[in-house]
C-alpha cells in the first residue's frame, strides 16, 4: 500500500471511529450510572436520522433547524425512555431492566417499520456537507472534516461537563454508590435524566452524520452501529467517556485497515467488532482506560 492510500484509509478509519465514538459515549455514560446496557441506544440513531430526514424532506426546514430539532427531540425521547421504562425497574432484578431495554429497542424498530415503512430512504445531504477536495492526491470529503470536527468539539464539551460541573460530579459519584449519593442530598433521578439527555443527544448527532455517510435510512439501521458502539465502549473501558471515544476510534481504524489490507475479508467486516469484544473480555475486561471497579 502506498503512502497516499494509507493516509486515505486512515482518514476513513478516523471518520468511522468518530461516529462509533459518539454513540459509544451514550452507552458508556448510561452503563456507568445505571449498570444497564441500554439496548435502545442504537435505535436512537435511527430515530434521530428519521426526524432530521422528515424535517428537511417533508417540512422543508433549513438543515440547521432540522438537525437541532432532531437533537432536542431525540434527547427528550431519551428522558421519556428512562422515565417510562427504566425508572419503575430501578429496584428490581437487573434482568428485568435488560429485558425491558431489548423490548424498547424492538418497539422503536418496529414502530418505525409500521409508521414509515421498510423501504430504505436516501438522506438529502445539505450542501455544506457535500463535496470533496483533493489535497496531495488524497480525497477528503467535507463530511469527514465535519464528522471529525463535531466529534472533537462534542467530546470536549462532554468531558468538561463530566469533570468540571456539579452535575458531572454527581454522575461520577452515582457510578460509585447510588445510595450514598442519595444520602448526600443529590436528586439521583434528575442526574440520571440528564445522563440520558446527554447520551441521546450525542447519539442523535452521530445518527445524522451516520446517515449522511451511509445514506440509506431504514428502521433497523441502528442495530449494527449500536452493537459496535457498545463494543467500542467496552474496548475503551466501560463507564469512561474518553475511553469510549478512544475505543470508537480504534474500532473504526481496525475495521477500515483490516479490510484495506485484506480486501477479500470485506464480507467479514461486521464480525471484526465481535472478535475485538471476545479478545478484550479474555485479556483486559476493564478496557484500555477502565479502572478496576469494586465488585
Amino acid at each position: 500500500m502506498n503512502y497516499e492510500a494509507l493516509v486515505q484509509h486512515l482518514m476513513f478509519g478516523v471518520t468511522l471511529g468518530c461516529l462509533y465514538g459518539l454513540v459509544a459515549i451514550g452507552y458508556t455514560m448510561v452503563y456507568g450510572v445505571l449498570r444497564l446496557i441500554n439496548f435502545a441506544h442504537g435505535d436512537l440513531l435511527m430515530v434521530s436520522a428519521y426526524i432530521a430526514f422528515f424535517g428537511i424532506a417533508m417540512f422543508h426546514l433549513p438543515w440547521p433547524v432540522s438537525f437541532a430539532g432532531s437533537v432536542v427531540l431525540t434527547g427528550l425521547l431519551g428522558i421519556l425512555i428512562d422515565r417510562g421504562a427504566y425508572k419503575p425497574l430501578r429496584t428490581s432484578p437487573r434482568i428485568s431492566a435488560l429485558i425491558t431495554a431489548i423490548g424498547l429497542s424492538f418497539l422503536l424498530e418496529n414502530l418505525a417499520l409500521v409508521i414509515i415503512g421498510g423501504r430504505p430512504k436516501s438522506f438529502p445531504m445539505p450542501s455544506p456537507f457535500d463535496g470533496v477536495f483533493v489535497a496531495r492526491g488524497i480525497h477528503v470529503p467535507y463530511l469527514s472534516l465535519w464528522v471529525i470536527g463535531i466529534t472533537g468539539v462534542l467530546l470536549v464539551i462532554v468531558l468538561l461537563i463530566v469533570h468540571r460541573t456539579r452535575v458531572g460530579m454527581a454522575m461520577r459519584a452515582l457510578s460509585r454508590d447510588v445510595e450514598t449519593v442519595r444520602l448526600m442530598g443529590v436528586d439521583a433521578d434528575r442526574v440520571i435524566s440528564f445522563t440520558f439527555v446527554l447520551g441521546s443527544a450525542l447519539a442523535a448527532a452521530g445518527g445524522m452524520m451516520w446517515c449522511m455517510k451511509y445514506p440509506a435510512l431504514e428502521p433497523f439501521m441502528g442495530v449494527i452501529p449500536g452493537l459496535k458502539a457498545f463494543v467500542a465502549a467496552v474496548l475503551g473501558g466501560i463507564g469512561n467517556v474518553a475511553g469510549a471515544a478512544l475505543g470508537g476510534l480504534l474500532l473504526g481504524l481496525a475495521e477500515i485497515l483490516i479490510v484495506a489490507i485484506k480486501p477479500e475479508w470485506s464480507g467479514y467486516r461486521d464480525a471484526i467488532a465481535f472478535g475485538v469484544l471476545i479478545a478484550i473480555l479474555l485479556t483486559r475486561p476493564t478496557g484500555i482506560l477502565g479502572e478496576e471497579l469494586p465488585e
Binding site: 446496557i37 425497574l89 437487573r94 434482568i95 428485568s96 435488560l98 431489548i102 421498510g118 465488585e295
Partner: protein
Amino acid sequence: MSVEASPYRAHVVRDRVLSAASLGVLLLFLWYADSHFSPYSIRILNVTAIFIILAVSYNLINGVTGQFSLEPNAFLALGAYTSAILTLTPAEKARTFIIEPMIWPLSDIAVSFPVSLVAAGLVTAFMAFLMAIPVFRVRGDYLAIVTLGLGEVIQVLANNLVPVTNGSLGLKGLHPYTNLWWAWGTCIFTVICIVRLVNSSYGRAMKAVREDETAAEAMGINAFWTKTLAFTLSGFFEGLAGGLLAHLITTISPSLFTFFFTFNLLIIIVVGGLGSTTGSVIAAVLFSLGGEWLRAVEEPFTIFGYTYSGVPGMRMVIFSVILILVMLFARQGLMGRNEFTWQGFFEWTRGLAAKIRRQE
C-alpha cells in the same frame, strides 16, 4: 427468597403413575393426530414441539440461572446448518453448491438424521462453551451483548463461508425427516432432562447464583462453572431444535435466523414466568397456536365495515408492547416461579371445587 425444597415426598408413586399416564395420553393424541390431522395442523404441532424445546432451554439460562442471554437465533442457525450439512447426500451437495463446491471432508459425509441431530446439539453446545468462557470470567452483563453479536456474526459467516454454507442461497431440498415422533420425542426428552436438572443439586446451584452470586460463592458454589453448565446445556438443546427445524421447513438460508426468533422466545419465557419450566411450556404452546392466529394483524381484514389493510411489523409492535407491559406491571408472568406438581394440581382443583360450592 427460598430455594424450593423437593416437593411432597409422600406421593412419589402416585405422581409417577399420573405422569406416565399423561405421557401415554399425549402419545395417544400424537398417534391419532399423525393419521387424522391435516398437514397444516401437523406442521403447527411440530412447530409447537420445537418452540417448547427452545423455550424450556432458553428459560434454563435466563430464568433459572438469571443470566440475560440473547442466543436462540444464533444457536438455532448453528444447529440447523450443522444438521442440514450432515444429512444431505454427496450427490445432493454437488447439485446444491453451485457457486463454489463444498470443501472436501464435508462434501463426502452423509449421516442419518438422528446422528445429525446429536451432532447439531454437540456443535452448538461447544460453541456455547466457547462463548461462556470469556463472558462468565467477567460478569453476566456481557452475555447479552456477546450473544446478540453472535447472532449477527453467524449470519455473516453463513453468508460468506460459501464452501460450507452455500452462502446466501442457503441449503435447499432437505429431506422432511422431522415428523411428530421426532419433534415430540425430542421435546419430551428435553423437558424431562431439564426438569430433572433443575430439581438436582446443579439446578439448586443455578438458582442460588441467580439470587445472589456472592452468597452462592460463599456457600462453595463455583458460579463460573454453574453458569457455563447452564449455558452449554441450553446450547445443546437449542442445537437439537435447530436440526429439527431445518428438516421441518426443508430450506434454510442465512436470512431466516434473525433476531425475531430470539425475541419471540423472550416473550414466551417472560409471559410464562421467568424461571418456571411449566410456564415456558404453557407459554410456548399458547404462542405457537396464538402466533398463527396473530398473523392476521399483518394481513388485510374487515371489521365492523372498517377495512384494515394489514401492516407489516404490527405483530412485532404488539409483541414488544406486551413484553414491556409484562415487565413493568406483571413481572410474575403466568406461573411466577412455580412449577406444576400433581399435589399442587389437586390442591388447586379442590380449592376450585370449594369455591364453586360456596357460591351455591
